[in-house]
Amino acid sequence: MERLPRWADLVLVPLISLLLAGIISALVILSIGQSPTEALKTMVDGALGSAYGWGYTLYYATSFMFTGLAVTVAFHASLFNIGGEGQAQMGGLGVALVCLALPWPHWTLALPAAMIGGALFGAAWVAIPAYLQAKRGSHIVITTIMFNYIASALIIYMLVSVLKPVGQMDPATANFPPGTALPTLNEIPGLNLIFTKGVPANISLFVALIACFLVWVLLWRTRLGYEIRAFGRSEPAAKYAGISPVKVTMIAMLISGALAGLMSINNVMGEAGRLLQNSAEGAGFIGIAVALMGRNHPFGVFLAALLFGFLYQGGAELGLWTSIPIELRTVVQGLVILFTGALDQMVRMILGLFFRPRPVKVA
């Protein structure tokens, strides 16, 4: 098969994949007797049509940037971290423990501590699967899936039996002290001119943007990043060059888990203000779609996270204003993963038809 030009591979493959996912979603909407154009209009109006909508879109995008970066870092070491969901939930536990530990005077002190807590717990949760992969060759995909379930069982136990305040009915921690409340975009001077109503998007957005940049620096501007990418391309070659597979596997996975755990400063600390059951709400899984869509590049992850933020907020609007169930967004998410991650050869083949040099006619 002809190789596609680099720009086409980077830009067109995800776009065509998105288009195919969009067409199938439109067919699904049609087949349940609704109008796809109405649906799209509702989504765009609800997610992008107002500063209020953007506040939600950016809030979701913040979480997806963290989990997308988590999957990206692991992908570069050719490891598939499907356990972002569990790591994000455990990160939430870390954030909650930090926030509840002290009567924090101000968020500027609480945020760095909570970030450390979230990242540590996320990294710790991936440490066992990473170790088993590195040392004993246990397939990381299966072990991280198992750890997702173990995490959710553990969180339920912690919430119901340990962290729930006496007298409270629902399984959740106590509310965090007021000193841990992160400023939302409508509380930040300057931005409050745009965001006049209360929105969930908060200062974590900027942490996520910095994380995007730092992951880029890590992967393409440091020795460690080079080792991770070399290992991901070819394990025997990396070994021959003196790169330790155990070390790279462990470090790449720990960074991945830490990034997934960091997500919790956005949803647990920034939005909920307490730890609830199933706090990550599937964001860990969306990270897979975001990383695939973003072609495993931090800038692509940023764009894809915005796209999925739009999809999530728009999907919620659909659930509110139309009779199209909110689950449509899960379908779109699955289709995007399918086309960008598994049927990418098919998409390339379709594109190849347009890029193949025309056969010369023999007279």
Partner: protein, 322 residues
């Protein structure tokens, strides 16, 4: 724990192990042919929805089962297309199809019945009804074995017995037929099968079709046997537990029966925390029981209880030499 309680728990063990067993055997065919299938969960969910909807509309559970198998087969075909024909990433394809199934089942059920993404409750002939095995009543007079036969083995729905029969059948197909030999070979070394003049692509699609049918039965049992109708996310991770059982069983049929019975036993115990407390004299938190199959699988994967070695060509698309 008295004998009657034990029988009750064993009875629900068998009921809860059935979907796991069917899905586990489904995964066995696919993975033995060298195609990883994380999408068991999605196929079961799709089958459950199709069965719930069609059984309600037609009033016949068997037409519902056929619809369930058809729904599951569509997903198996897409997985085959992605992982065999287009040589994509099998793990990602499975994950993607699970998401699609999770969303589309609710979407369809909601648009058909407007009951919050459920299908209407099934009753009568639209549901599997318990079958009493011969002599169950008279045999219950025999001490110990009699009640076991009457309470645990008898009185299940048809698919429970189908699932149990699938175990020797799978063993026979895998180890005593030409198809089985080729299936095992294509999962270990597809090039050798190709050299022998057998189509790798066709074998793998056949394996995936069997996977689809068995997942269809598993989903149909969920919707029309275990429960009466489809509900959102009703498989609740059973596809992944089945995957865990498959690894626990080291990709072998009889061990798959043992593993799924064990995991079914945990699920049955998790429903009866009172029994555990009275037997062990201390309380095990229910979440710990829920997590037990997953923890066991990690332990097995870690190679502490004998190594689980997957089929060697698993996960790799086969590229024919030119």
């Amino acid at each position: 724990m008295d004998y009657a309680t034990l029988l009750q728990i064993l009875d629900s063990t068998l009921r809860l192990a059935t979907p796991l067993l069917l899905a586990c055997l489904a995964g066995l065919y696919s993975e033995r042919s060298g195609v990883f299938d994380i999408g068991l969960e999605g196929k079961m969910l799709m089958a459950a929805m199709c069965t719930g909807a069609v059984a309600y509309l037609t009033g016949s559970v068997w037409i519902g089962v056929l619809a369930g198998i058809a729904g599951s087969l569509i997903f198996a075909a897409v997985h085959g297309l992605a992982s065999i024909t287009f040589r994509g990433n099998q793990l990602i394809s499975g994950v993607a199809l699970n998401f699609v199934a999770s969303g589309i089942t609710v979407l369809v059920a909601q648009s058909m019945f407007q009951q919050g993404g459920r299908t209407p409750p099934l009753e009568g002939a639209a549901r599997f009804n318990p079958i009493t095995l011969p002599f169950a009543d008279s045999a219950s007079a025999i001490p110990i074995i009699g009640p076991f036969y009457a309470e645990v083995l008898s009185g299940h729905t048809a698919l429970v017995y189908v699932a149990l029969l699938m175990v020797p059948l799978t063993w026979w197909a895998l180890y005593r037929t030409r198809f089985g030999l080729r299936l095992r070979a294509v999962g270990e070394n597809p090039a050798s099968v190709d050299t022998a003049g057998v189509s790798v692509v066709r074998l793998r699609y056949t394996a995936l079709a069997i996977t689809g049918i068995l997942c269809g039965l598993a989903g149909a049992y969920m919707a029309a046997g275990l429960q009466a109708g489809f509900g959102k996310e009703m498989t609740a991770g059973r596809g992944y537990i089945a995957l865990a059982a498959l690894i626990f069983a080291k990709w072998r049929p009889w061990y798959a029966l043992m593993a799924t019975l064990l995991f079914g036993f945990f699920q049955a115990l998790a429903l009866r925390p009172d029994v555990i407390q009275s037997t062990l004299k201390f309380a095990i938190p229910v979440p710990a029981l829920d997590a037990l199959p997953y923890i066991l699988t990690v332990v097995v994967l870690a190679g502490f209880v004998g190594r689980a070695i997957p089929p060697r060509a698993g996960g790799e698309p086969y590229v024919k030499e030119r």
